[in-house]
Subunit: 331 residues, 2 copies
């Protein structure tokens, strides 16, 4: 009897602790929120249980993706937009995703400055994230942090990321609404961000529009748009801003509102969410299956295999089949 | 008896056919090569068996990765370098990886022009690849195509890709030697390619070095280098070229030769290969495990799950655990 009940009690007390944590987080306790974000960000042992508890409380927040080339003024625009929505008493979560390299420490510094700026206002929560290891990846971590912020009751979550790679496309895909920020005079303007990014824009912003070349950027966007029709028939509008001076911010908020109304009218929100979840499920499954395979391998096994393959003593294609078979209990 | 032997005979005749195909490919038959590349590129049913047969014949080719910002003149440089090595009677395979979007058809056009240029010379084989679906991904496909070209007996394989995202970093990681191509006057020069790319450069090329700003690019590279020491103690040299005029090409080939000699002297080739294979094995395993999970699901199951999650009727974290358990035969 003892063997049967002890683990149950243990699980129950763990669950109780978790429930309390979730409760505090939902009541707006900033420390519980910060701890939860760190837990999922670092993929700690209890992160999966935590996410399971949080998920039923999500779905309230609108998720806004903001992306653009480096130097396009994303953070300034996001900050201004956050201030705008704060005046309407909306609570904000900002996830600033920065695939930094060891060479650049600018992001962390910038984040500190931003934090100071908003520090007095608990209605704005900013979290910066850098590139994590390949397992799970940045897109998944961002998705999990979004789940936490959503469950915490934030009205609006802004995900801000540099639009240069597939990672960023995956991140932006989490958003209900995607804003792509361009800026004049960056050479081959439209070319400096990944082509796939242009295609997921619901709204374009030409920031620093007082600079020379703004019309050219606009023409380039229009030319691209003339080549393809979106399946939802929405033509992404172009909003011009000078974010550093707050110019065009109200305009951008209005345009975001218009697209939200359009999504609602056309009943597209659920459709988009289903599509997003289909992609995310595959990614989650891929990672979880890999973890399973890794757990079935002994310490150092992977390194030994890699050496054997590099020395051409073993072929990797047969090896992978063998491991998969082993995990699935076929051999 | 019949039940036992018929499948065996079938397998044997399949294997025989495969062996013949591999034989022809190794004897330099261009159609067998092209068919093999298409097979692995499209992930056709027999691609795994084919790769198993080809792998033991790989390891001869040197693999050169060439990457840089869009517009840096990669193809011109690759073509010039190919011509240079052809004069030394080396056979060349070029894999031009272009994560094109539906908007841009430039790559395909450019490829046709390049093909015409080299068409008379069977010693140069060019293959362009665009972005494939998320399963497997571009890096894996490129790796498989490299295996095919290597097994076909090419002396040198050049992988050419735009250096803007994680995909590209993964692709370049396949190479024994990585050349990063920069170009003056592209605004924030070093910023327009992904930071991670700079760090994997074994050799830098400043192409179009007759343009204004070449010195600035050089200074930026040197400044970056002063911040970090490579684990192999190699300081990536900077070669200046004007590829369109053939200027600096011989210089680049010499520098590549020097790095090859260094790798050999320091016994670094195997070490690097082991590291690469460790990464690739994880990726291959991840994909193979996902396929396994997908095979365990019925048609439409994923879409139904996605809908249930989007409607908040189901939590994705528990679901993924459940599917993994199902595949591993735990439930």
């Amino acid at each position: 009897v003892f063997h049967g009940t002890a683990p149950l009690l243990y699980t129950e007390s763990l669950n109780h602790e978790l429930q309390q944590w979730v409760e505090r987080l939902r009541n707006g306790d900033p420390r519980s929120l910060a701890r939860a974000i760190s837990t999922v960000e670092n993929g700690e042992a209890d992160s999966s249980e935590l996410l399971k508890c949080l998920f039923p409380h999500t779905g309230h927040a609108r998720i806004l993706g903001m992306t653009g080339a480096p130097g396009a003024g994303k953070s300034t625009l996001v900050d201004q937009l956050a201030k705008h929505y704060r005046k309407q008493n909306q609570t904000i979560g900002i996830i600033a995703v920065d695939p930094t390299s060891p060479y650049s420490g600018g992001a962390i510094l910038g984040d500190r400055i931003r934090m100071q700026d908003h520090f007095a206002d608990p209605g704005i929560y900013i979290r910066s994230m850098a590139t994590r290891g390949s397992l799970g990846g940045l897109a998944r971590t961002t998705a999990d942090v979004t789940t936490v912020l959503d469950a915490s009751g934030r009205d609006l979550i802004m995900i801000e990321t540099v639009g240069v790679g597939q990672d960023e496309v995956d991140i932006v895909r989490l958003a209900d609404i995607t804003v792509v920020i361009l800026v004049p005079g960056m050479g081959d303007d439209v070319q400096t961000i990944k082509a796939g990014i242009m295609e997921i824009a619901d709204i374009f912003v030409i920031n620093k529009c007082d600079r020379e070349g703004a019309e050219r950027v606009e023409r380039e966007i229009r030319a691209m748009q003339s080549l393809a029709v979106r399946s939802d028939n929405w033509t992404p509008p172009i909003v011009k801003t000078v974010a550093s001076e707050g110019q065009g911010i109200a305009d951008l908020a209005t345009t975001i509102g218009q697209y939200e109304a359009y999504l609602k009218k056309e009943n597209l929100v659920l459709k988009r969410n289903v599509e997003n979840w289909r992609e995310r499920l595959v990614e989650m499954l891929r990672d979880a299956m890999l973890e399973k395979a890794r757990a079935a391998m002994t310490e150092g096994e992977m390194g030994r295999y890699a050496a054997e393959i590099a020395e051409h003593k073993r072929d990797p294609y047969s090896l992978v089949e063998e491991i998969v078979g082993r995990v699935a209990g076929e051999t």
